[in-house]
Amino acid sequence: MRYMLLIYGDESGWGNLSEAEQQAQMAKWFSYTEEMQKAGVSTQGDALQSTATATSVRSKNGEPIVTDGPFAETKEQLGGYYLLDVADLDEAIKWANKCPAAPTGTIELRPIQEFPDAP
């Protein structure tokens, strides 16, 4: 079963860390990604730039309506994702729990809608 593993956290936290702490945290992220790849459960994942760099787009009468910022201001912001392929929700939960962001943020697991006849 495929899931999006969505990583939410308070972005401002990163800036409060010392350089040493940031390096330590990055090491955790690399090791987490590697572990998932080795286990064959994740084929893709990325960190996202902060919401300060986000652009939101709506469309009206075929014209884009562009605004600065994320689609909603929230206490915890979307910071990254992984695409998971695991047996069931319990396995997805196991990996979400290991995520370096889990102790301070929230990991959302969303099952992917499969379209059997999609190209």
């Binding site: 079963m1 899931y3 929700l89 319990d90 099952p111």
Partner: protein, 389 residues
């Protein structure tokens, strides 16, 4: 049967399960041992037949959770134990909202109809139906496995299952709103479900503890409510109206739950406390010191202010109202139980026993403001009148 020891054991266990279910209803047969053996043999034959069917079913299950969740209701008596255990854990999965876990468990594990569930939970049928549809969809779409959790996840997940079952029991044992103090059928259903979980996980102490606790509390149902629907306190209950068969079932379970692990769990301890009451022929025979000790142990594994309150009450009974009142006043000072009617009721009772009637009346008044269950309210109102008289 080809000398298959496991199969034979399972068949006998099945027979006991049927006995536990039927005998309270139909009466104990004149030759219980023979009944068990005959039933066990019959169950063993049934099981062999079902195993052939199971191989076909497993092919079905492999095709998708959707089929499994859809096909199971109503067949609960015929279900193989492993499937049933997986279903229990699926219905009580933390990914489901608690308000979905309860009706889902009642429906898929208990086999209750939507109408019965609605009546039991005092909800409109449409609400129950909707919650079931959503919950089943969540199970299917989000991939909640219908299986026993991995060993490292089992303790937390089992806690969740037991919590749901105890919630169902408490709904029936002591309704939070309305006129009826107990809803027997719902409490009995919770017991049946707890028995299933216990029989499916016989080496786990807490399911045994919970089952014992429910049986002991349920054993007092006939004596808890008076003729006018009023609440009768434990100390005033007619103990001849206690269900001795339920107590007899519970006591060995208590021992089992207490000894099966290095440290006793919360349900085992609560059951042990209820067992001390059950063993007392008259209120004055109650071994309060033992109860106070058990509460002391309980407050360490379940450090809730409510447990601390109950301990204070037990200590008061064992060592006098002053000591108990001191403990209760400590809790009042901490402010955690301010909205809990039983804190004020307990305080009122201790003050009353001290002869401090004005303060007792004030506390009964406060308890009355917070209580929602009718028979409890009537009881508190009566005590309040006594203090003012």
């Amino acid at each position: 049967m080809g000398g298959d020891v496991d199969r034979a054991e399972e068949a006998v266990q099945d027979a006991y399960a049927v006995a536990l279910d039927r005998w309270p209803r139909d009466g104990v047969p004149s030759t219980p041992a023979a009944w068990i053996l005959t039933t066990a043999k019959r169950r063993a034959i049934d099981r062999l037949r079902r195993e052939a069917a199971l191989r076909d079913r497993q092919a079905l299950l492999a095709r998708g959770l959707e089929e499994a969740v859809r096909d199971l209701p109503g067949e609960d008596e015929e279900m193989i134990p492993d499937e049933r255990l997986g279903l229990v854990f699926a219905c009580c999965h933390p990914a489901l909202a608690l308000e979905a876990q309860v009706p889902l468990t009642l429906r898929l594990v208990g086999g209750l109809t939507v109408q019965e569930i609605a009546r039991a939970l005092l909800l409109p049928e449409a609400t129950v139906a909707q919650r079931l549809v959503r919950a089943k969809r969540k199970v299917r779409v989000s991939g909640i496995p219908i299986a026993e959790p991995a060993p490292d996840a089992l303790p937390a997940r089992l806690d969740a299952v037991l919590a749901v079952l105890y919630l169902i029991f408490n709904e029936g044992y002591s309704a939070t709103a309305g006129d009826e103090l107990v809803r027997d059928d719902l409490a009995a259903e919770a017991i049946r479900l707890a028995r299933i979980v216990h029989l499916l996980l016989p080496d786990e102490p807490e399911p045994a503890g919970l089952l014992a606790l429910m049986l002991l509390q349920h054993s007092r149902r006939a004596a808890r409510v008076g003729a006018a629907g009023e609440l009768v306190l434990l100390e005033a209950q007619d103990r001849s109206r206690w269900d001795r068969a339920a107590i007899a079932q519970a006591l060995p379970l208590v021992d089992r739950a207490l000894t099966q692990s290095a440290s006793a769990g919360p349900y085992a301890l609560q059951a042990a406390i209820a067992a001390v009451h059950a063993r007392a022929e008259r209120p004055e025979d109650t071994e309060w010191r033992e109860i106070a000790l058990l509460y002391g142990a309980l407050v360490r594994v379940l450090p809730s202010p409510v447990v601390a309150l109950n301990r204070a009450v037990a200590v008061a009974m064992a060592s006098g109202p002053s000591v108990g009142l001191a403990l209760v006043d400590e809790l009042v000072a901490r402010g955690e139980l301010d909205d809990y009617h039983l804190l004020h009721a307990a305080r009122a009772d201790l003050l009353r026993r001290h002869g401090r009637r004005e303060e007792a009346a004030a506390a009964y008044q406060r308890a009355l403001e917070l209580a929602t269950n009718e028979p409890e309210r009537r009881f508190l109102a009566a005590r309040l009148d006594e203090c003012r008289a």
